[in-house]
C-alpha cells in the first residue's frame, strides 16, 4: 500500500476509535432521535386527546329509497375516493322527527336525512349542516337522476377513455417525484449539516496537544486531512446506519404504509438508495474537506464557533441553488448546480428522483472525486503555509484577529 495512504488510515483509525469509543458518541447517536421520540410520544398523546369519530349520516327512509342513496354515494366514492361521509340506513319509526332528535342527541349520527323521497330534510348541528349539506344534496340529486333515467328506460351514458402509457412522459406523476426529489435533498442537507460541522473543529485537537508536529513530520499534510475525513465519514456513516435502523423499525411499528405512499424514483429504488449513499459521501467529503481546511486555519475554539454560523448559511445558499433542479432537471441553472461542486450532490440526487438516465450520475461522481482531491490539496497547502511554518499561531485567522484586536 502507498505509505501516505497507509498513514492516512492509521490517523483515520485513531480518530474513528477516539470518536466512537467515547461516552459522548452515545449522546451523538441519541441526538437526532430525540425529536423523533419526542414527536412520537406527544403525537400519540395528542391523537388520543383529539380522537374524533368519523362523520356518519343516518338515512331514515324505507329500504328502497335508502338503498338508492347508498348506491349513489358508492358511485361517487368509486370515482373520487372516500370524500363523502358514511351513510347508515335506518328504518323509520312512527315519529320520524323524534327518531332524528334521539339519534343526534345520543351521538349516533353527525346528521340525519329523512323525508325521502319527496321532501328530504337534513337535520343536525349548524356545523354539520354547513359541512355536509351540499354533499347530501348532490348525492340525493344523483340518486334522483339515476332513478329518473331508469324509469325512462335509458342507460347511463358511460364515456369510455382509452389509456395509452408513454414512458417518456415527464409530467406523469411528477408531483410525487418532485416531492421525493425535494425530500431527498432535504435529508441530504440535514445529514450533511449536522455531521460535516464536526470537521470544522477537527484539527484543533492536534493543534492544542501539539500532536500536529508529530503527524506533519511523518505524513504529508494531505494524508492527515484524508485520514481525518475518512474517520469522520466513518463515524457519520455509523451514526446514519444506526439512525436508519431505528427509523425503519419506527416506520414498521407505527406507519407500515409509509413506503407505499412514496413515489417510485425515476432510476428505481435500489439505484436511488445507492445514489443517496454515494451523494451523501460526496457531499460530506466536499463540505468536510472545505471545513477541515478553514477550521485548520483557526487557532481557537472561539474562532471556530464564529466561523460556523456563516458557513451554515453558505450551505443553505448552496442548497437553495440546488433546489432549482427539481423544477427543471435539464435547465441551465440545474446544470450549473450539478457542476458547482458543493451543490452538485443535492442537484444530482434530485435528478435521480426525476430522470431515469444513469450516465450523468457516473460523470457527477467522478467529478466529485476530482473536486474533493483538489479541495484537500488546496486546504493542505494553506495549512502548511500558514500554520506549520510558524509552529502554530500565524494563520490567516490569527493574523486577522490580531489586527482587529490592535488598538486604533
Amino acid at each position: 500500500m502507498n505509505p501516505s495512504l497507509r498513514a492516512a488510515l492509521v490517523i483515520a483509525r485513531r480518530d474513528y476509535v477516539a470518536s466512537v469509543w467515547s461516552r459522548a458518541f452515545v449522546l451523538f447517536l441519541i441526538g437526532p432521535l430525540i425529536p423523533i421520540i419526542f414527536g412520537l410520544t406527544f403525537g400519540s398523546v395528542g391523537a388520543k386527546m383529539q380522537k374524533v369519530e368519523p362523520p356518519v349520516i343516518a338515512i331514515i327512509a324505507p329500504p328502497a329509497e335508502g338503498r338508492a342513496l347508498v348506491e349513489a354515494r358508492l358511485r361517487v366514492t368509486r370515482a373520487l375516493g372516500d370524500v363523502i361521509p358514511e351513510f347508515e340506513l335506518i328504518a323509520p319509526t312512527a315519529d320520524v322527527r323524534r327518531q332524528s332528535a334521539e339519534l343526534l342527541a345520543k351521538g349516533g349520527a353527525t346528521a340525519v336525512l329523512s323525508g325521502l323521497p319527496d321532501a328530504p330534510v337534513l337535520s343536525g348541528s349548524r356545523q354539520a349542516l354547513w359541512a355536509h349539506g351540499s354533499e347530501v344534496e348532490w348525492i340525493a340529486g344523483e340518486a334522483w337522476r339515476h332513478a329518473a333515467l331508469a324509469r325512462a328506460g335509458l342507460d347511463r351514458p358511460a364515456a369510455r377513455v382509452k389509456q395509452v402509457p408513454i414512458a417518456e412522459a415527464t409530467r406523469l406523476g411528477t408531483t410525487d417525484r418532485a416531492a421525493l426529489a425535494r425530500g431527498s435533498q432535504l435529508v441530504l442537507l440535514f445529514l450533511t449539516m449536522i455531521l460535516a460541522g464536526l470537521l470544522l473543529s477537527n484539527l484543533l485537537e492536534e493543534k492544542s496537544n501539539k500532536v500536529i508536529e508529530v503527524l506533519a513530520a511523518a505524513v504529508p499534510v494531505d494524508a492527515i486531512f484524508i485520514g481525518k475525513l475518512i474517520a469522520m465519514l466513518g463515524m457519520s456513516l455509523t451514526g446514519i446506519a444506526i439512525w436508519s435502523a431505528a427509523g425503519i423499525a419506527a416506520i414498521a411499528a407505527f406507519a407500515p404504509g409509509f413506503a407505499v405512499n412514496l413515489a417510485e424514483p425515476a432510476v428505481g429504488w435500489p439505484v436511488f438508495v445507492l445514489l443517496g449513499v454515494a451523494y451523501f459521501i460526496a457531499s460530506y467529503l466536499l463540505i468536510g474537506a472545505l471545513f477541515l481546511g478553514i477550521g485548520g486555519q483557526a487557532g481557537t475554539v472561539r474562532e471556530v464557533q464564529t466561523l460556523s454560523m456563516p458557513l451554515t448559511f453558505g450551505q443553505l445558499v448552496v442548497f437553495g441553488f440546488a433546489s432549482v433542479t427539481v423544477d427543471q432537471p435539464n435547465g441551465l441553472p440545474s446544470i450549473l448546480a450539478s457542476i458547482f461542486p458543493w451543490s452538485s450532490p443535492y442537484a444530482m440526487i434530485a435528478r435521480g428522483a426525476l430522470r431515469p438516465e444513469l450516465w450523468p450520475h457516473l460523470v457527477a461522481i467522478g467529478w466529485h472525486l476530482v473536486a474533493v482531491t483538489a479541495i484537500i490539496r488546496i486546504s493542505a497547502r494553506m495549512f502548511r503555509r500558514s500554520v506549520l511554518k510558524s509552529g502554530g499561531g500565524k494563520g490567516f485567522w490569527r493574523r486577522l484577529s490580531r489586527r482587529s484586536s490592535r488598538p486604533a
Partner: protein, 311 residues
Amino acid sequence: MTQEFAIEARGLIKDFDGVRAVDGVDLAVPVGAIYGVLGPNGAGKTTTLRMLLGIIDPDGGERRLLGHPAPLKMANKVGYLPEERGLYPAMPAREAIAFLGALRGLGLAEGRKRADRLLEEHGLGDVARRPIRTLSKGMAQTVQILGTIVHGPRLIVLDEPFSGLDALNQGRLEALIRAQVAAGATVLFSTHVIAHAERLCERIAIIVGGRVRFEGSVDDARGRMRPVVTLVTRRDEGGWRDALPASARRDGRSWSFELPAPGIEPLLARLIEGEAGIEALSIERPGLHEAFVDIVGTTVANEMDLPEAER
C-alpha cells in the same frame, strides 16, 4: 553505493513574515554519528530541523535526508522528537508508542509488542496501559522518546531532548542515544546545553542568529584554542616573570595563560632556575564551553547558560 551523509543541507534559508530566521545554513551529518546542533533559543535550530525533516519547505537552498531530496519520502526511516512534545492524552502509553510507530510504517500489532518491551526496559512496564494524561511529564516524555525509536529508524532527530527531564532521566536518554548509534542509527539533536553536546557528540554545528558559526568535530572546536596553563607560585617576583607570556592574567598568586607555542618546557626551566616555588602547574585543554565562548562571544554564551526558567 554507501551513503556518506545521513543529512546534507546547503544554503538553507527561511523567512517568517519578512524576518530571516535561517540564513544560509550548511550541514553535513555523517552516517552513524551523534551530531549536535548548538545555539541559544531563537537561533533557528528548530526551524532548521523542521526544514531538514520536510515539515516545512525552505525558501532557498537544498536538503537531502538519507540521500533523498524529498524528506517525507524517507519518513519511515526517520524518528523525530519535536521540541513541543505532543501525545493524545486519552491514549494508553503502549498505544501511543504503537501509533507513533504506525505513522512511520510499523504494523500496529508489532508496534504494541515492541512498546511493551521498550516500556519494560525503561522502567515503565506498569504504566503501559495507563492513559498519557495520568502520567508525569517526565514519564510522558519518555513514552514519546520510545515512540520516536519504536520503528527502528536509521536517522533519529531530537529537538531539545533533554529539556524537561531530571538528571536521572537525562542520563538514561544519553544511554539510549548511545545504544541507538551502536545499533547503526545516526542521531541529530539540538540543544542549548553545551555539556550534553560535549559528552555525546562527535560533531557539532553552532547556530546563532540563523547562521552556522562553526561546523566540525568537537575536537576541532576545542582545538581552535590553545591549552590553558594555570600556575601558582610561592614567590611573587623574580626574573622568571619575564618568561610568562604578555597575555598572562594574574589572580593573587595564580597565573593563567595560553600554552606558549614552544611548549611548557622552556618556561618550566626558567621557573626552576628563578626559584619561583611552583605550588601548582596544570595544562588543560579548553572545554567546549570555552570554545563556544570563543566562537560566539560572551553575551550569547551567557544566554545559553541561563537556567530554562530565566529565559
